[in-house]
Amino acid sequence: MSAVGTTGNGSGSTGAMPALGGAALLPRGRRGAELLMLAFAIGVVLFAYASVGLGLNGHVPTGLVTYGVLFAALMLGAHLAIRKLAPWADPLMLPLAALLNGLGLVMIYRLQESGRNGNPGSAISTMSASTTTFQLIWSAIGVIAFVAVLVVVREPRMLQRYTYTFGVIGLVLLALPALLPSSISEVPGTGAKIQVALGGFSIQPEEFAKLALAVFFAGYLVAKRDVLALAGRHVLGIALPRARDMGPVLIAWGASLLVLIFESDIGTSALFFGLFLIMLYIATQRTSWLLIGASLFVGGAYAASKLFAHVGVRFSIWLHPTLYTNVFCGNSSVHVPCVPSYQLAQGLYGLGFGGLLGTGLGHGQPYFTPLVQSDFIVTAFGEELGLTGLMALLLIYGLIVQRGMRAAIAVRDPFSKLLAGGLAFVIALQVFVIVGGVTQLIPLTGITTPFLSQGGSSLVASWMLIAVLMRISDTARRPAPQPIQDEGMTQVVRGI
């Protein structure tokens, strides 16, 4: 590596660069550390995969080598792309994402094999014998999308130029399922209109809308934050914003309520409104916006729970998930109205059954929980890997979020700051909503578990989200441009 700053491969293995201008240690790319941790993550995944086979039927799965090589090649490909495209990016994110993606594949394989090929358990009717293969293909598409984002977005600020374009894209993606007929957009059996399904192939546009809207919010709020931060009247010591500035918040609130009503999707609604509020707060640093937003959301949700039966039921289920009447609707005394909590109850039973250490992969009975491979996949982990495994998963998510926040704090440009903060928060919120939902901390609203749940859209969108965060951290950690020559007042600065 040359003494002057270049965009070279930035490998940490070459050690610290010579100190310049009295600066202490220069930041290092730490790609070697990333590779080491990635190898560890791949090792954990392969071990888990072998463990599933041993748990189910005492044999190492025959596909271990094929799947293992494919998965390792994918992740190594992503690593090489980072070396080339974002050499200064945070070294922790790829190994963490790879670990989650890999464990998700392992669990989906385990659930798919249940009751099939002579394995114990009953077959999960909502999965096919090729579900894992499809999920692996989706992982490949996800990694390709990850690389594509790094290739296209060379500088996070360039996204700011397309603020309103992303706004329109986001809204169209969000509204699309609501506008399409139910036959195309409704997830069978749930009543939620959140997908676009054509010819047996479906995507959930909201997953991508989340990314587009985050970019839009960041661009919009950076431009308007000075105005939005202006204080109006003081009430109870809190500076309220001016009434005329309330517009954007009300629009976001209205849009999230529309999603709630027309798509019957509480989780997504909460996710978008929460994302907007937090980005508004980060942009303006005004706590009043949080209070206003939170009260709007709680009020809206309360009204919705009274107005729409399917929202109200979620609250009743949350309060009494393991009531016999609710677990077995239709089979109970007539005195207690039944709220169908079978799925939540079975998820909780699975967690309880797993206990502290879990049954071991392949030894549990997660197939009792309906749709365990998507919204409830965390309960399958809790059952087979126990509290220990579930806490490990939560810590992995926590690390990703904190690394994202770290990038947001480190990066200088306000737009990137806001975008990184929003994206990191949205992961935390999504994990909180779904894991909190299935563990009875909050009312259950069905959204995907990033990287783990079966389904392509969420996986691809999650990889794209990680790509944006890594691009921002690359920008943040990239050493300042070095002067090419040391003399004179005018310096030629080599652009990066």
């Binding site: 394995n119 980060i282 967690l351 206990g355 009792f368 700051k417 903060g421 928060f425 563990t439």
Partner: protein
């Protein structure tokens, strides 16, 4: 904006902390409650994830076993011999268990503390948990014979065979029986259907008639009356006793008569006004003699002797609970007369009938009847062995020999009530007593056929008790069942000796 970002970052941390704390609550504190929550199929299915131990006879014939199946449940219970052993094995449905399946459940399931170390080793070496094997005292040949012979009568009844020297139960059959395989199904609909069918059947196939239904013992109770008389020291088999054709009972207009209203005549008593030896009265089963003898001995003495034979004891377990055989306190002389010949309120289980014979066969010492010979851990080490123990001393060896002599005459003498079975015995000497018990309102029901006996007379190996409900004469219906069991068991003993 960094200030706000730090606070949001902290908020995220709090969110994850909440999730972690909640996960600890759910999987740590609530885990047990949730695992046993209503409709948690996991806990339910768990009992079918491990191989339950087998139940085998003493000659190692499996009568209950678990086979591997695919699906939610890994193992399916099955009973190779179906109805034959059903009253003993019981059944193992997903909801209830009976018989040995219930009594030895924890050992069969492998959850017994005595298997804890074994389970820990299995956990470390990653071997699936396995239940222990329960070996019964049963002899498969005797049991087959008992069930087939009972079934051949076509009437409800029970038969029990005991090794008199140990108390080990060699056979225990009840008819009509049921097919436990139909109740071991893991298909809820099929199980419910079979369950309803058996429960609603007027034939009560689920009732274990050998130990849980009582019948009037009829004349077989004369074994007890004789024992009480000889134990008093005032009588022996050759004591001549008043033998009227009709015995007038005090304080009532009732008269006790002999079967078929015949006189009790050994050649010296043609008019029914003289005396006959007790051994003759026993051999031809004169009611008037034993009714009079019973009145003379008194209800208290009879009850004392009956208790010594194991009657009036509701606590007996083999290990399944056995219904008490009853000899209630009697004060009226007329009722005492009836009770002395096994009528009035006397009731016995077929097991009790076998215990009468077993006590006499074992020189008066009644061994505690038991079914479980030993329990064998999956690693073939023996966990439990039943050591035979005495239940009670019924009579002295001398009295036992006297009663035994009378019982031998019942079969051996041409005028004995059970002489008809000799032709089928193939040279085996049998001592026994028949009973033909009247029952129903005003004795309008069909007579129950009862038999108690043991063989061979000189060196008793097997004691048998049989009751066939509505079978008529004990010699006609019950004694042949006993003969089948005795012959099957003796030929088994001979063949295993020659091996």
């Amino acid at each position: 904006m960094n200030h706000a970002l730090r606070r949001v970052s902290l908020a995220c941390l709090v969110m994850f902390l909440l999730l972690l704390v909640n996960a600890n609550y759910v999987q740590g504190f609530e885990a047990g409650k949730l695992a046993n929550g209503p409709g948690n199929g996991r806990t339910f299915a768990l009992q079918y994830q491990y191989q339950r131990g087998s139940i085998v006879t003493s000659d190692n014939v499996p009568i209950a076993a678990s086979k591997h199946i695919s699906g939610v449940y890994s193992f399916q219970r099955y009973y190779p011999a179906g109805a034959t052993y059903a009253p003993v094995t019981g059944y193992d449905t997903p909801y209830t268990k009976t018989g040995i399946e219930l009594a030895e459940d924890r050992l069969l399931a492998g959850t017994d503390p005595r298997l804890a170390v074994r389970n820990l080793i299995d956990l470390v070496t990653n071997k699936p948990r396995k239940g222990a094997t329960v070996q019964l005292t049963f002899n498969s040949v005797a049991q087959q014979a008992a069930y087939q012979a009972l079934k051949a009568t076509g009437l409800p009844g029970g038969a029990v065979a005991i090794d008199p020297k140990t108390g080990g139960i060699l056979a225990l059959a009840s008819y009509p029986s049921f097919n436990p395989n139909k109740l071991a199904t893991l298909n809820g609909t099929a199980l419910n259907k079979a369950d309803q069918k058996y429960l609603n059947s007027p034939q009560q196939p689920l009732l274990n008639r050998a130990i849980n239904e009582t019948f009037p013992p009829g004349s077989t109770f004369k074994v007890v009356t004789s024992s009480a008389a000889f134990s008093s020291g005032k009588y022996n088999p050759d004591t001549r006793y008043y033998a009227p054709t009709n015995l007038k009972l005090p304080e009532t207009t009732h008269q006790l008569i002999n079967y078929d209203n015949s006189p009790c005549n050994d050649g010296s008593n043609p008019t029914g006004t003289g005396k006959v030896p007790l051994i003759f009265a026993f051999t031809v089963s004169c009611n008037t003699v034993f009714g009079g003898l019973g009145m003379h001995l008194g209800g208290a003495a009879l009850r004392h002797q009956a208790n010594a034979f194991g009657m009036n004891d509701p606590t007996l377990r083999i290990p399944m609970p056995v219904s008490a055989s009853n000899y209630p306190p009697v004060s009226n002389p007329d009722y005492t007369a009836y009770s002395a010949i096994g009528q009035y309120s006397d009731t016995v289980t077929p097991l009790q009938e076998a215990m009468f014979a077993a006590a006499i066969a074992n020189q008066g010492t009644l061994m505690r009847p038991y079914l479980v010979q030993k329990v064998i851990a999956p690693n073939l080490s023996t966990l439990v062995v039943t050591v035979p123990s005495e239940l009670s001393h019924t009579v002295s060896p001398g009295v036992a020999a006297e009663v035994s002599r009378m019982m031998a005459d019942v079969v051996a003498q041409p005028y004995g009530t059970a002489h008809s079975i000799v032709a089928n015995l193939g040279g085996i000497t049998v001592a026994g007593k028949t009973g033909t018990a009247q029952n129903g309102a005003n004795n309008t029901g069909l007579d129950d056929a009862v038999f108690t006996g043991f063989a061979p007379v000189g060196n008793p190996q097997i004691a048998v008790g049989v009751v066939v409900k509505g079978g008529g004469l004990g010699a006609d219906a019950s004694a042949p069942v006993a003969v089948q069991i005795i012959k099957a068991y003796m030929s088994y003993l001979n063949s295993s000796k020659s091996k």
